[in-house]
Symmetry: C2
Subunit: 119 residues, 2 copies
């Protein structure tokens, strides 16, 4: 078992699990901020944000590098950024044949949304 | 008038206004991603996230540098990060006497939350 609380509806998709109350409930501790900042940072790059949006909006809610060609960066760069999004816990991945398919982790998105809830 | 749409409940707090549909609705354009990434990036730093949380959870929903002393960085560093959060449109500020008071911009937070809405 890891030392982070698993959310009941899903297992931890990666090394980061949403952990924390809304940002406006009480001041975050250093540890909470470290964990949460990684998710925001992953979406804080325009290319990654476009890729994330491309995966999230793709038919069936998943996409591989082969599905993404219009973001204006090379395929290796696309792969690099998709891995970063996965490391931040925002995407999960599954290899099928030649390609790795990425899927949005809805519970993580929902938890990030809750962080931003206004008191 | 600026060329961005003002939200009915408030004026644009800074140079960034939430602009975009949920990330899972359709792939973001380059321009949408540029605008939105700035907000996520501002929250993608642990110190800024703690400061943001400190302001958001402070009594009355506002705080000045004088109210924040337990984040482990110097007062000039606190001021620097609060300015960055303001530039990203996440905080508004008002000078009263010696101090600048920062307040969370609820409409921006709500719009960020909507970006993360799952289809």
């Amino acid at each position: 078992m890891s030392n982070v609380k698993a959310r009941p509806e899903s297992e931890a998709p990666g090394s980061v699990v949403p952990c924390c109350p809304p940002l406006s409930e009480r001041p975050f501790t250093a540890e909470e901020a470290e964990r949460t900042a990684r998710m925001f940072k992953a979406l804080g790059d325009p290319v990654r944000l476009r890729l994330f949006s491309a995966v999230a909006s793709h038919e069936g809610g998943e996409a591989c590098v082969c599905d993404i060609s219009d973001v204006g960066v090379s395929q290796p760069t696309v792969s690099h950024h998709l891995k970063k999004l996965k490391e931040a816990g925002l995407l999960t991945s599954e290899r099928r044949g030649t390609w790795v398919y990425y899927r949005v982790e809805p519970s993580v998105l929902a938890a990030m949304g809750q962080l931003l809830a206004v008191r």
